[in-house]
């Protein structure tokens, strides 16, 4: 891959990345969240087009316009979220899309033969007729690998393959990769687990801010080197000054032994949040940061632990309970979770506090419009009017509408989940300024962010999340990028 560039509205995701992979090599790709790894791999797999740049195989420039083309070129892709059809058996999944046929009928015998051949070559044992949904994660992964090999893949991309595997399963996977390497199959291996790279990778490329920073043989790099290359930049200075938290500031929110049933099971979460304080939750994707704030906000079910607000224990069983108590969640995906896109700015702004706008049973539209216009003014939402459909606003302005929804009420604790994801620099600065304004007036904030500079620049304290719980608490001056990444990746305590 040479000179790959890719931009999304407002974001340059890839800025001239060049990557080469040798036959029979395991090439590790590492980088912070948002460094561009996934985008690069989607381009290689034909799932997204590149704006610029070329891909060559064996020296010949090829067009990878769609996933089928990638498959025919021998590029196999194993995403972190597997692409198996849950109700089809192992065989059917392996031959999906390349089913052997006899006339118009499926030739099951040939399918079994072909799949069994691939599995036998690798000495893999799988329950061939079991539907994918009942396989273990490791078995699903093996099915994915077999699927790639059935299509004669010469390059297999694996995204975080060990994230959900136990130690013995990881050993088995690495042995299998070694076997395939010997047969000349190349791998691009994406991982956050720096400690496993020496065991598996031949070379390592570090990606940062959409650029391939450096490529080295694994033996030439220590974990510290890798972390340094991943972070590699001074903290951006566009963060506003945080007002200091008074030494005697009361504890607003207290969380003890919290466990939740979100997509990542969180457990044993303990922390305190003081009035006027911003606490940042750092960690890798899938560590459980989002799930912690969702549990506090009642978006997921709290299965254990206590949440105390201003000294009163809360019984939060739904978002409504949390909101009523004064805890609000600004969710990570504003389109799917934060907004009703087909409704107007006004209707979205008042949605969470609509009862306050009801006069004699009917909604008072004039009051709604007045409150909305006040928020539009204060947050500088760029919209033609309060009647504009939210779908038609830019990402930054949509995010401001999500905030407006919560500022209409008087929230005590605001849980920001990725507050600046996918919005431009100007809108980011405005949101930071707003957060400062909120804490200045005595509110408290928990912020989840995948952007390390943002966590470090906008938090009084940083909690590093790993494996569904808080692995470390760092004061602002202790929270160096190296330390946070090392803890998040499990390379240090």
């Amino acid at each position: 891959m040479t000179g790959i560039r890719k931009s999304f509205p407002g974001v340059r995701a890839l800025d001239g990345v060049t990557l080469d992979v040798l036959a029979g090599e395991v090439h590790a790709l590492v980088g912070e969240n948002g460094a561009g790894k996934s985008t690069l791999m989607k381009i290689l797999a034909g799932a997204q087009p590149a704006d610029e740049g070329s891909i060559a195989i064996d020296g010949n420039v090829v067009a990878v316009d769609n996933p089928k083309a990638a498959e025919l070129l021998g590029i196999g892709m194993i995403y972190q979220e597997f692409n198996l059809v849950p109700d089809l058996g192992v065989i059917e999944n392996i031959v999906l899309g390349v089913e052997p046929r006899r006339g118009i009928f499926l030739d099951r015998k040939a399918a079994v033969a072909r799949a069994s051949q691939v599995l036998a070559d690798l000495a893999i044992v799988l329950p061939l007729d079991r539907p994918a949904r009942r396989l273990t994660v490791a078995q699903q992964q093996l099915t994915e690998i077999a699927k790639c090999l059935t299509r004669r893949a010469r390059l297999i991309v694996m995204d975080e393959p060990t994230a959900a595997l136990s130690e013995p399963e990881i050993d088995a996977l690495f042995a299998l990769i070694a076997k395939l390497k010997a047969q000349g199959v190349a791998f691009i291996y994406i991982s956050h687990r720096l400690e496993e790279l020496p065991r598996i990778a031949d070379r390592i490329t570090v990606l940062r801010d959409g650029r391939a920073i450096e490529t080295h043989a694994t033996a030439d790099l220590t974990q510290d080197d890798i972390v340094r290359l991943m972070v590699g930049r001074p903290l951006d200075s566009h963060f506003p000054e945080l007002p200091p938290v008074a030494a005697d500031a009361p504890v607003t929110l207290s969380v003890r032994g919290l466990a939740g049933n979100g997509s990542v099971a969180v457990h044993g979460v303990d922390f305190d949040l003081r009035a006027g304080e911003i606490v940042g939750l750092a960690g890798l994707v899938g560590a459980g940061r989002t799930d912690i704030v969702r549990a506090i906000a009642g978006a997921d079910v709290q299965i254990a632990g206590t949440v105390t607000l201003d000294g009163h224990a809360l019984h939060v069983q739904s978002p409504a309970d949390a909101i009523h108590a004064g805890i609000v969640l600004i969710p990570e995906d504003r389109k799917a979770q934060g907004l009703v896109l087909g409704m107007s700015v006004r209707e979205n702004t008042t949605l969470a506090h609509l009862a306050d706008f009801v006069r004699r049973g009917a909604i008072d539209r004039a009051a709604e419009t007045a409150a909305t216009n006040q928020q539009i003014t204060e947050l500088r939402v760029r919209t033609p009017s309060s009647e504009q459909t939210v779908r038609n606003l830019s990402g930054g302005n949509q995010q401001k509408v999500v905030l407006a929804k919560w500022l209409v009420g008087k929230a005590r604790v605001l849980l920001f989940d990725e507050p600046t994801r996918g919005i431009d620099v100007g809108a980011k600065a405005e949101i930071y300024a707003l957060m400062v304004e909120l804490v200045r007036h005595g509110a408290s904030i928990v912020m989840v962010s995948s952007e390390l500079p943002e966590v470090l620049g906008m938090s009084h304290r940083v909690l590093v999340v790993r494996g569904g719980t808080i692995a470390a608490t760092l004061a602002r001056d202790e929270a160096t990028p190296q330390r946070v990444i090392a803890i998040a990746a499990g390379a240090a305590a």
Partner: protein, 346 residues
């Protein structure tokens, strides 16, 4: 922001609201113009039989039950759900109403009131039962209401022993069944009470959908259920209530039919579920949820009623009528989709 900026913003808001109102007005005007053209054409074709007070009253009376059912169905469809059980609820509520009325030895108004409550209870309970698996287990409403469609119809047959239940004392219901407000004044036949009931139901639910917090929650839930839940809306309660409303409206329809025929028939309402869904969809409510109005639904029901009436006046045989209706339903949705695409491109 400065005072001027704020003033500008408010101006913007006024202008935008004006534009929206104007757009709405243009749309309504277009609709009305189309309707006038249709009516005139139809009137000419029918040699003046269409535009008579008697015939118009007739059309309104014919659409009453479908329109009332469609009002309730609109709420369900806005949440991206569907209620297939309403036709059977019409039958069951009618049978129950007739049985209850026959069992009472009371003054007429009291008999009527108790019968009304009984019918409403039947519809609301059926709607509640529809909703429970939908909100608790996230089952598709297509299935739960399909099951209720079978169960309610079966119950209607069991309770009535398979025979229509004639009213023994129809005096308590005659006014609602066949009576009209202002009957005989100035030689007109008056406005049927059934039509008045339809107007009250449609108006009441138009206000609920358009002006109350509950209506806003229904629209928000249909537009994005997760965002609505995270905004603290009790989405389960909101969703449960739409099925209760739909069942209740169907029960009113059942009561009206029972009153009209002075008899509760277990067969009545068969196939009505699809007619009322057609009225809702023709009225511009999105099956994907999040968008819809009661006014639109009323016009949808009216359009279907007018077409039926006209085709009868023109002596078009019923087989052909079915084809025409099918084409009109498809056309209405296609036109709506094209309009949306046109607006999206602007």
């Amino acid at each position: 922001m400065s005072v001027e900026a704020k003033a500008t913003l408010e101006e913007h808001a006024v202008v935008a609201a004006g534009t929206r109102r104007r757009k709405g007005a243009v749309r309504a005007a277009g609709f009305a113009a189309g309707f006038v053209v249709l009516v005139v054409a139809v009137n000419l074709l029918s040699h003046g039989h269409f535009l008579t007070a008697g015939n118009i009253t007739n059309v309104l009376r014919q659409i009453t039950v479908n329109a009332i059912m469609a009002v309730g169905q609109t709420f369900v469809i806005i949440t991206a759900g569907i209620d297939l059980s309403v036709g059977s609820i019409v039958g069951l509520a009618g049978v129950v109403a007739a049985l209850v009325a026959n069992s009472l030895q009371l003054a007429n108004p009291l008999t009527f009131a108790i019968t009304l409550l009984a019918a409403l209870a039947v519809g609301c309970i059926a709607g509640y039962v529809n909703a429970v698996p939908v909100v608790r287990l996230n089952l598709p409403p297509f299935i739960t209401t399909l099951a209720m469609m079978q169960v309610a119809r079966g119950l209607a047959y069991i309770l009535s022993h398979g025979q229509p239940v004639p009213l023994q004392n129809s005096a308590a219901f005659d006014w609602l069944g066949t009576g009209a407000l202002g009957d005989g004044i100035g030689g007109f036949a008056g406005l049927p009470y059934q039509v008045i009931v339809m107007a009250i139901v449609a108006l009441a639910f138009a206000v609920i959908l358009g002006r109350t917090a509950y209506g806003r929650y229904v629209l928000a839930l249909g537009g994005n259920e997760e965002a609505a839940r995270l905004a603290g809306i009790n989405t389960r309660r909101v969703k449960t209530l739409v099925y209760v409303i739909s069942g209740g409206c169907a029960a009113i329809g059942g009561l009206l039919l029972m009153a009209r025929f002075a008899s509760g028939s277990p067969q009545s309402g068969t196939g009505y579920e699809l007619q009322c869904i057609a009225a809702v969809v023709v009225g511009g409510t999105s099956l994907m949820g999040g968008r819809g109005t009661i006014v639109g639904t009323f016009f949808g029901a009216l359009l279907i009623g007018v077409l039926n009436n006209v085709m009868n006046l023109l002596n078009i045989e019923s087989y052909t009528q079915q084809i025409v209706l099918g084409v009109v339903i498809l056309l209405a949705v296609v036109l709506d989709e094209l309009r949306k695409r046109y607006l999206a491109r602007q």
